[in-house]
């Protein structure tokens, strides 16, 4: 099986994926295929909403934790994956 880099490249090379952003736990973009302005904007919003979603999940069931969050807009969809220390964020049309 290939590693993280190859899988990430394959996701990014998909025609319907606009790009990916990897954030650290503070919402700072670590690795992104967008420019830094867009990345930091997405980073700020995404970390807030992920924290909200995670607290909702854990309020309902303290043993659980948030794994994936998909937000579908009219024209786009953001998939936010969150292990305990980082958030991946591919946006596709």
């Amino acid at each position: 099986m290939d590693g993280v880099e190859e899988t990430l490249k394959r996701i990014e090379s998909n025609a319907s994926v606009a790009g990916t952003i990897v954030l650290n736990s503070e919402g700072v973009p670590i690795r992104s295929s967008f420019d830094s302005g867009t990345s930091s904007r997405y980073g700020r919003e995404v970390s807030e909403i992920t924290a909200l979603a995670r607290s909702a999940v854990r309020d309902l069931d303290p043993q659980n934790d948030l794994q994936l969050l998909c937000i579908r807009f009219n024209k786009r969809e953001i998939i936010i994956g969150s292990p305990y220390d980082s958030i991946l964020n591919p946006c596709n049309y």
Partner: protein, 508 residues
């Protein structure tokens, strides 16, 4: 005298938390010699939010009895907590929010694991979050120590990324995300494969307008192909008996000048763009099959006479778990092996082999490969033989003399013979779901025959794209689909439409 002091070690300080985007300029400029003339290092004020020191009273003092009495009452109340309605158990979530770093200059703290003992150096660590209990504090401080080591500037991203890359969880999450994305792209073909209806608004614009015809037809659903397989010829395919969504495809070299190692890819229906497992073998693959009894084992036969068994459960497959060189054919996994001799098991005892001369020989396993019967009618080498899944005595054979013949086990000459164009037929297979339907693949086209409808011509003919040769064929057991492998390393999935199941009518 009193009970254990609950030392609420809340040494919190309030301090300005800078947002990342307006760091003071001084942190970003390099420190020059000139600036080092006069430096004044001060501390911000320490504000204590909550500090409850324990009250220690000597046993001999006057108020001691009252205090002991109160302590006892409290201990009782704690014990009765579960029974009294005044107290309700509630789970609390502890969110580990992002740690806020504060830059300080100090020597690195050496930390030792000492269980629940409070750290004595904590006053020197300025962290801007609160410590609820002693042992929790220990855990939190260990994280913050790591951050302190890593120098708290905002450009820590390189280190973070290296750490994240090694995380198993992150990799798993990436795999899931990839599958979600592919699922939404391949939503319609996948639904068609599984036989599920698709809502009209979910289909592409182009597909909505096609008329629905009633004649038998093939609809191309998707193609399994990636850069690794481009240019190779598909030689064999097999379904996993334990997991009907897994397809193993064996590739051989395209021309003998370009000696590439043989390749086996295990594709999952969920992901047509990249195989789940990739195995490189030394020789060109002629056949493969999955084990019915042992999940995850794939037997691969190669043109140089080697049979290797691979364990697919590990992600990284480098070497086979078992490898053996054989001169003659073996029938343990019901696969066919080297040198163009084909072998197909019907029941445990009888099997058929087809040969270069065009004869098909029936042999018995139990009587040490004795020749029971020979069926000869083909004028070219027989390529493939397959038993009918619905009728135990009937089998089909195909050969390079461009004919397909239908035989009955006890009859020496074929019952029926089918030709449609003058090309060598590579493979013929019965449909597992519809009796009297079979498919055949030759260089230039895929043919689906339905014996209930037409003996002379195939009901569906799908021509190969120009420049491509179709080399391999496999029906799907759970779905009305057929997989066709070609000389460019692609496996195309077609859905059979409007072929209706009929009675098994093999009487002649």
């Amino acid at each position: 005298t009193s009970s254990q002091p609950k030392k609420e070690f809340v040494n919190e300080e309030i301090e300005e938390t800078f947002s990342k985007y307006d760091l003071p300029i001084s942190f970003q400029e390099p420190v020059t010699q000139a600036m080092l003339k006069e430096i004044l290092i001060t501390d911000t004020d320490c504000v204590s939010l909550l500090d409850i020191p324990p009250n220690v009273v000597s046993v001999n003092s006057d108020g001691a009895d009252i205090i002991t009495e109160r302590n006892k009452q409290y201990a009782e109340a704690c014990g009765k907590r579960f029974k009294i309605d005044n107290y309700v158990d509630r789970a609390m979530q502890t969110l580990k929010r992002a740690a806020k770093n504060k830059c300080t200059q100090m020597d690195l703290m050496l930390k030792t694991d000492a269980g629940n003992m409070p750290l004595f150096h904590l006053s020197a660590l300025r962290e801007a979050f609160c410590f609820p209990q002693t042992f929790d504090m220990f855990v939190i401080s260990s994280c913050s120590l790591k951050d302190v080591e890593a120098v708290g500037t905002s450009s820590n991203t390189k280190l973070d990324w290296e750490l994240i890359k090694t995380s198993e969880k992150f990799h798993y999450l990436l795999v899931i995300t990839e599958r979600i994305i592919l699922r939404s792209i391949f939503h319609c073909p996948l639904a068609a494969y599984r036989g599920l209806p698709v809502k009209p608004e979910e289909m592409d614009q182009s597909k909505r307008c096609t008329e629905i015809s009633c004649s038998p037809a093939l609809e191309c659903l998707w193609v399994f192909s990636c850069e690794l397989t481009r240019g190779r010829t598909v030689s064999c395919m097999a379904w996993d008996k334990n997991n009907p969504d897994l397809l193993a495809v064996g590739y051989s070299e395209t021309d003998s000048m370009n000696e590439k190692p043989g390749l086996v890819c295990c594709w999952c229906i969920i992901n047509p763009t990249w195989p789940e497992r990739i195995i490189y073998c030394d020789g060109a693959i002629t056949t493969l099959d999955f084990s019915a009894n042992h999940p995850g084992r794939l037997a691969v036969g190669m043109s140089d006479g080697v049979i290797a068994i691979y364990n697919l459960q590990t992600a990284d497959i480098k070497a086979p778990t078992f490898s053996k060189y054989v001169e003659e054919t073996v029938g343990s996994f019901a696969t066919c092996i080297s040198h163009k001799d084909c072998l197909f098991l019907q029941d445990a005892n009888i099997y058929l082999t087809c040969t270069w001369e065009g004869n098909i020989q029936k042999r018995s396993c139990s009587r040490s490969y004795d020749l029971l019967e020979t069926y000869s009618k083909h004028s070219g080498p027989a390529n493939c033989v397959t038993w009918c899944p619905f009728h135990p005595d009937v089998f089909l054979s195909c050969s390079s003399d461009s004919t397909i013949r239908l035989w009955k086990q006890d009859c020496k000459s074929p019952m029926l013979s089918f030709t449609s164009n003058h090309r060598a037929v590579h493979e013929v297979r019965w449909s597992p779901r519809q009796a009297a339907v079979f498919g055949a693949v030759n260089d230039s086209q895929l043919e689906i025959w339905d014996l209930n409808t037409n003996f002379l011509n195939p009901v569906i003919v799908q021509r190969a794209a120009p420049g491509l040769k179709m080399t391999s064929l496999l029906f799907a057991s759970r779905s009305d689909c057929v997989m066709v492998g070609d000389s460019c390393g692609q496996v195309t999935v077609y859905k059979l439409q409007n072929i209706f199941t009929g009675e098994s009518s093999q009487v002649k």
